[in-house]
Structure formats: structure tokens, C-alpha cells
């Protein structure tokens, strides 16, 4: 996996809100538009994101009656 290309995408994602919005909707198109060349493994990685990971603060459990 070419970290140089992926690193460029991360830099773009960090600096450009427009890229962030587009990457969330269509990551492959966003990468193409940014002119970043990715191999098939990297392209697959772009669309394999689970946006609903269960990482969250747990609310207090208050047993009441």
C-alpha cells in the first residue's frame, strides 16, 4: 500500500472541508478529482468504511422507581 498517496489524501482531508464533504459522499470520486493515483487495494480501502462504529460515551445507568 502506497502511504505517500494515502498520506496526501489525509492531508487533503485535513485541510479542505470541501474534500471532506465529498469524501464522505463518494470517496473514490473525491480521490480521482484530487488527482491522487490509488491502486486497487487502496481504492477498496476507500469504500470499506463503517461510519457507525459503536464508540461512544455511555450514559449513566440510573435504576429508578
Amino acid at each position: 500500500m502506497s502511504y505517500e498517496a494515502v498520506g496526501k489524501l489525509v492531508d487533503l482531508w485535513m485541510s479542505d472541508p470541501g474534500f471532506r464533504a465529498q469524501a464522505k459522499k463518494d470517496p473514490k470520486a473525491a480521490a480521482r478529482k484530487a488527482g491522487v493515483e490509488l491502486n486497487s487495494e487502496e481504492l477498496a480501502a476507500l469504500s470499506g468504511i463503517d461510519w457507525s462504529l459503536p464508540d461512544e460515551q455511555l450514559q449513566a445507568r440510573v435504576s429508578k422507581m
Partner: protein, 564 residues
Amino acid sequence: MTATTTLVTLTLNAAAFDRLLASNPNLKAALEENAEILRIAKFLKQATPFTALDAAPARRLAARLQRLQAEAGAAIVTEGQAGDACYLLRRGRVEVAAEGRTLAALEAGAVFGEAALLTEAPRNATVRALEPCELLVMRRRDLLEAMGSGTDVGSRMVGLLRLRERPARKPGVVAQERATADHDVIVTLKDPARPAYFRLSRQGWFLWQKLDGRRTLRELTLEFMAAFKVFAPQTVSDVLISLSEAGFLDGGRLRGDILHSLSRASWWQAALIRVRRVMEWRLSLHGLDPVLTRLYRDGVCRLYTRTGQAALAVIAAAGLLVFAAGASSARAALAGHWSNPTLWFILIPAAIAGVLIHESGHAFTVKAFGREVPSGGVGWYWFGPIAFVDTSDMWLAGRGPRIAVSLAGLYAQAILAGLAALACRLLPPASLLAAASWIFALGLYATALFNLNPLLEYDGYYALEDLLERPNLRRRSVRWLARDLPRALRAGRLDGHGAELAYGLLALTYTAAASALAGMLYRMFALGPLSQVLSFRAADALGWAVVAGVAFISLLSLAQELAG
């Protein structure tokens, strides 16, 4: 330029204008200053965190910013020093370095030094001019004013901060790993100082272990991609922001004034917060755990042995059978006692004892699983008084123990109801005590059923969220319905979110049903008596106001879950 209406123009040729300026140095200076402010405002509108500013606030901000020139090689900010300003690079290039390592080169339009404005932390890097630079200096008061303009300048600045910082785990946080019912691994973090809890997925746990204060979001994203084969800067960023907001990261905490400015609630959020504060009022008693631990060790633990549990199960089952078998004859025997005030002198303390035993059931079951009960107390929950115990420490336990704790209060109540039903059977049939025992048992069984309703945040709700392995089920479902349902409908698949869909729809249906029920109860019991006092039309209108009020409060509550 083409005139679209008849107009009159005044003309000043360049030579006359130059003569005017030459003879009025003050006018010349004022015009130049104004032109410069307009140029800075235009620049601000192009610089990322300020693009959302309207023209007037942008001009006001531009007028307040100081201009600074830096020679090549000059340090603009120095690592480790305190700072109260951030910088916008207008012309030139700068180099960012920390701990002797070059991190980045920034060009015109970049913003740096924002961490010192937003947090109490010292400068985390040195920024040096690579060539002659022109900068704009923004002080905290300028930022606060820009944040007060109603745009998202503040959140954009905080976003910028989060993207650049090197997050570190808060010391003292303990982690407990366990397998879920579908064989996934999750980790629960506990900050014993507060206490607060945070649930991490396998991916979140991977990130947590990397948060040593040396990696940026860029490095974390690359390592995440190497481990999980996904490009997920948004996911990584979301996890970091959630951890930071929950107070699980060290340093980088936003300053009070910034936080206050960011968390300004809309009118309806502020109204709901006030309503909830009154309707969900609590008086907490801290330091309960040592007392409960001693009581558990000194005797209560015997109830949690096999023999003890078998005996309690026999009482609960036998009592329920006796209650069900004697229901029809008991009702007739009660008839003569309703108007006896002594009955209520017995029932009121008995009801209080019932509540205490219910809460003790939760608390001692927590102790039986070796966890803590940090607090308990009394309060008011929407339509009536409550007693409560905090069983949050069970987040560190597995699913079975959590369900057991959630249902332990109801079980204790069922045992007490069983004892009351058995007492009713043993006492003389028409006696006052027999009547009180039967009413007491009935009340306990009825409130137990009410408590099992998973659509209200009582014991049944916690048991259901544990059963489904969906913490924060209510919030999660409401948010999923509002944010992800359209996407799921377009894709034609739920991707494992069936529980969120079902619970969210049931919660909405319940809101409608609760409003209708409130209206029905009003018409059955209140409309008649109130019609005697008010006119029928006024009493009827009041009924509709009750229905609208219940619906409004329920919907506001759901909306607050959505807004977070």
C-alpha cells in the same frame, strides 16, 4: 457598466482626486485604512475558518486584527511558551517544528497558533518564517466576537485544533475488555475520578492504545488503514472528538469562555433543558458504596447463595399463585375498608418500604457482581416522585450481569409482593391487615409491569438495551431514524440496524399513544368536574391543551436526543 434607469453621476478625475488627497493627509490615511480593511476582510472570507462570516462581521473582525511583519528566520511562536493569539498567514511561507522535528510548511491563507486561543495549553510547536512574511494577529476577544456572529467560525476553529493536535490518553483511566454476544470484542473505559464510562469498538480500542501524545490524526489514520484496510480519517477523528468531549483525553480541554460560546443553545433547547431540570430533579447521596459493601458482607450476601435464591424464588412464585387464585374473593373483602383512614396509614409506609426494597435489589445485586454503587437518592421524574441508585459501574460487566442488575429491583418487588399475598392468605379474610396486604401486593405487581415498559427509561429499558447490546438505545435509535433511515431506504438494506428502526418507530408511536391516553384520561376523569367550574368550552380546550402539551414535551425530548 450600463445605466438601467435615469441617473445623475458625480465625477472626480484621477488628477483632482490625487490633489484632494495631497491636500488632506488625514483623508488619505482614512481611505487607505478603509481599503486595507476591505482587503483583509476579503482575505478572511477566503481563509478556511472564516469563510462563513457575513460581510459586516468580516469587516468588523478585519478592523480589529493587528498586522505583523516577520523577517525570514524569525520565530513567530515558540514551543512551550504561553500564548494568547493566533496568526493568519497573509503573505509568505512558514515552517512548523516540534521537538526538533519539522512537521509542516504552511503557505498564505494558513492559520496557526489556534490551540493557545482555544485551550490553556502552551504552544505545542515553533513556527518560523521561511521568507519575509505578513501576518494578521487574532486575539481571543476577536475570536469570541467572530464566534458570536451566529456562524460556525468557532466549531471550525475547534475542528482545526482537533485535526492538528497529538491526543494523549488521560492517566488513571481503566479499561475492561469483553466479548459481545455476536463474538465481537468491545472495551469499556472507566474514569474512576468522576466516574464516567466510554465504550470502544475493536477499532476504537486500537486507536486508544495509540494515543500516547506523539501521533497526529494523519499518523493515526495511516496506522488505522494499515491495520484495518480502510481509509477512515472521519472515523478516527470522530472517535478522538468523542473521547475528548467525554473527558477521556489529557490536555487540550477547551477554555471555559470558548466552550460557553460554542455551547449556546437555541431557544427550544434552552427551554427543554429547563423543563427537564425541573421534571427530572434529583437529590443524590454520595458515599453509599462502603455502607452497601458492609451490609452485603455482613448478611445480605446469604440471599445471593443458591439456597437463598431458591428460597426467594419459591416465595415469589407461591405469592404470585396465591395472589392470582385469590383475586376475585379479595376484591369483595376490600369493599368495606376503602374509606378507613387506617388503611392509608399502613399503605403509605409500606409503599415507601417497597421502593427501598426495589432499589436495594439493584444495589445489592451490583455488589454481588463485585461492582460499585457510587450514589443513590430521591427525586422527581416527570409525573411522580422516585428513588434511585446509580448502577453505571455495571457498564464494566458482561451482558448477563447487567440484565440481572436491571431486573433485580423488579425481582425484589415480586418477592415482596409474594410475601404480601401470602400474608393476605394467612390473615383473617375480612381483616384490615389482609385488605392492606392485598392492595400492597396489587400495587407492587402493577408498578413492576409499568417498570418493565422499555419505552420509558425505567428498568425494562436498561434490560432491553443490554439484551440487544445497544447502549444509549433511545438516542441511537432517534438519531438513526433521522440521519440514516433515508440512506438505508435508498440502499434497500438496514445493515444490522433493525433494532434502531423498531425502537425508534415504537418510541414515536408511544409518543402519539401517550398523548391520546392523556386526552382520554382527561375526558374520563377531569372534563366533567372541570365543566362544573369552567364553561364546557374552556374545559374542553384545556383537554386539548393537555394532549398538545404531552405531545410537545415528548417530541422536544426526542428532538433533544437528536441534537445531543
